[in-house]
């Protein structure tokens, strides 16, 4: 499964993205497993709400953090995320 640049991305319905107070981290929860996220990964995933494409996620993040040139990093992470089933497109 590969990332489609034209399709909006939504967070997987069979996973849960959640703030963990004890760890001070966002985590992904799924059957008998957990992935701890760093801040940038969590920021990307929070924008996967079924309305935004890769380009829109990049531009929102660049705006939010007043920076530029995030395309490669964000795309690379979303490729990993789709391979792991954390996000879907359709």
């Amino acid at each position: 499964m590969h990332l489609d640049l034209d399709q909006p991305i939504h967070f997987s319905r069979s996973h849960r993205l959640q703030w963990e107070e004890a760890q001070q981290k966002q985590v992904i929860l799924y059957p008998e497993g957990m992935v701890e996220l760093n801040q940038s990964s969590a920021e990307i995933l929070k924008l996967c709400d079924g309305t935004r494409t890769v380009a829109q996620i990049v531009s929102d993040l660049e705006q939010k953090f007043a920076t530029a040139g995030l395309t490669n990093d964000v795309t690379a992470f979303l490729e990993v995320a789709i391979q792991n089933g954390w996000i879907n497109q359709n």
Partner: protein, 374 residues
């Protein structure tokens, strides 16, 4: 249990063994052989308190297990409380007694996932191993779990009686639409230890089965995830048991005894504490049992000077105890262990038993046998 505040990692995984009652009689059950001795069960209020306390410390993955957790009438109430606290809750069930009504009720209560166990790919063998006619019902339950939007995990425990069905088991899981398939090679504790001569496959059988499973993994990539639990008797390094003692996992047995691993009840001298007497925080930080194998001070050679001690923490203490009689020994699965020969002895004994004309019967897990063996 007064003690200083330590900087232990908090528990992440809480395994709530709600009951030892089970309609199935699987001869590899991980419950203790003498489970029939422990009749007492925690009340609903006790479980609600345990869930709250463990969540406050940081536990986030929650397994409702047993026995068969569906035999507890308060399961929906516990599930709801778990959801309110923010747990990701997993129901680990035989599927026996699970109706569509219950599946909907648990979904509404906030259950995240259901893991259904199936014993084999054919009705005859499934029902024989389970000791109960349950195959068709389990398949129906698997469909219902999918229908109601749960991620569905199918768990099949592998041993000598069903290892030849590996290809059919994989195809069955795909056909049932499993999102995850756990192929769990039997770990030889509890009832499986008692039945080891009849359950342990040969190395040749393992190699063949594993090759089939690995090839299938690629075939279904992106559709069904396959977790393959390795058979540690055919490894030369031990598993990193429990991710390190008292670092991640907390098991609460049906009677409220807190265990650093679900087999630890069999280890001598741990004085495992009970949630009726202490809070989860006291148990985790201060109890003798949870500090027993924390860190490395307990290690003897070859672990003490081993450069892999941070990788496997010396392996499994229960296995060391069961196979060498000393829980401080290195897990004998390790080829560096002076007791490593006991593994080959076990493999040879199982191979010999499989060729014997008068094979002794499997000891099924039930209260009668539990009392006889206690």
């Amino acid at each position: 249990m007064a003690g200083s505040i330590k900087t232990n990692t908090p528990p992440r995984w809480l395994l709530a063994e709600l009951t030892y009652a089970c309609p199935l009689q699987c001869p590899y059950c991980s419950n203790p052989i003498d489970y029939a001795r422990y009749q007492a069960e925690l009340s609903t209020e006790d479980w609600l308190r345990v869930l709250t306390q463990a969540r406050k410390m940081g536990a986030v993955q929650l397994g409702f297990s047993g026995g068969e957790p569906l035999t507890r009438q308060d399961l929906p109430e516990l599930v709801k409380h778990a959801r309110d606290l923010g747990y990701y809750s997993n129901l680990i069930t035989s599927g026996y007694g699970l109706t569509e009504e219950k599946i909907i009720q648990l979904k509404e209560a906030g259950l995240d996932h259901i893991q259904v166990s199936i014993q084999a790919s054919s009705q005859e063998l499934n029902d024989h191993i389970a000791g109960t006619a349950s195959f068709e019902h389990k398949k129906a339950v698997a469909h219902l779990v999918k229908k109601h939007g749960y991620p569905m995990v199918l768990c099949v425990v592998i041993h000598r009686e069903n290892i030849h069905q590996m290809a059919e088991i994989l195809a069955m899981a795909e056909e049932l639409g499993a999102d995850y398939l756990e192929i769990a090679n039997t770990q030889y504790y509890g009832w499986a230890h008692a039945n080891r001569d009849l359950l342990l496959p040969t190395q040749e059988q393992f190699v063949t089965a594993e090759a089939i499973a690995q090839a299938y993994k690629e075939k279904v990539a992106g559709k069904m995830k396959i977790y393959y639990v390795v058979p540690d008797f055919y490894e030369d390094r031990p598993k990193a048991c429990m991710n390190g003692w008292g670092t991640t996992f907390l098991t609460i047995a049906p009677d409220g005894v807190a265990l650093p691993c679900h087999s630890a009840r069999d280890l001598p001298g741990l004085d495992c504490p009970n949630v009726n007497d202490y809070s989860i925080e006291e148990i985790w930080h201060d109890s003798k049992a949870f500090n027993f194998f924390r860190g490395k001070d307990w290690m003897k050679e070859p672990c003490r000077s081993c450069d892999e001690q941070d990788k496997d923490f010396g392996g499994c203490h229960c296995q060391a105890y069961l196979l060498t009689g000393d829980m401080y020994n290195a897990d004998p699965v390790c080829s560096k262990s002076p007791h490593h020969g006991v593994i080959q002895d076990a493999i040879d004994a199982a191979a010999h038993a499989s060729l014997a004309a008068n094979e002794k019967p499997l000891i099924f897990r039930n209260s009668k046998n539990s009392r006889l063996l206690s």
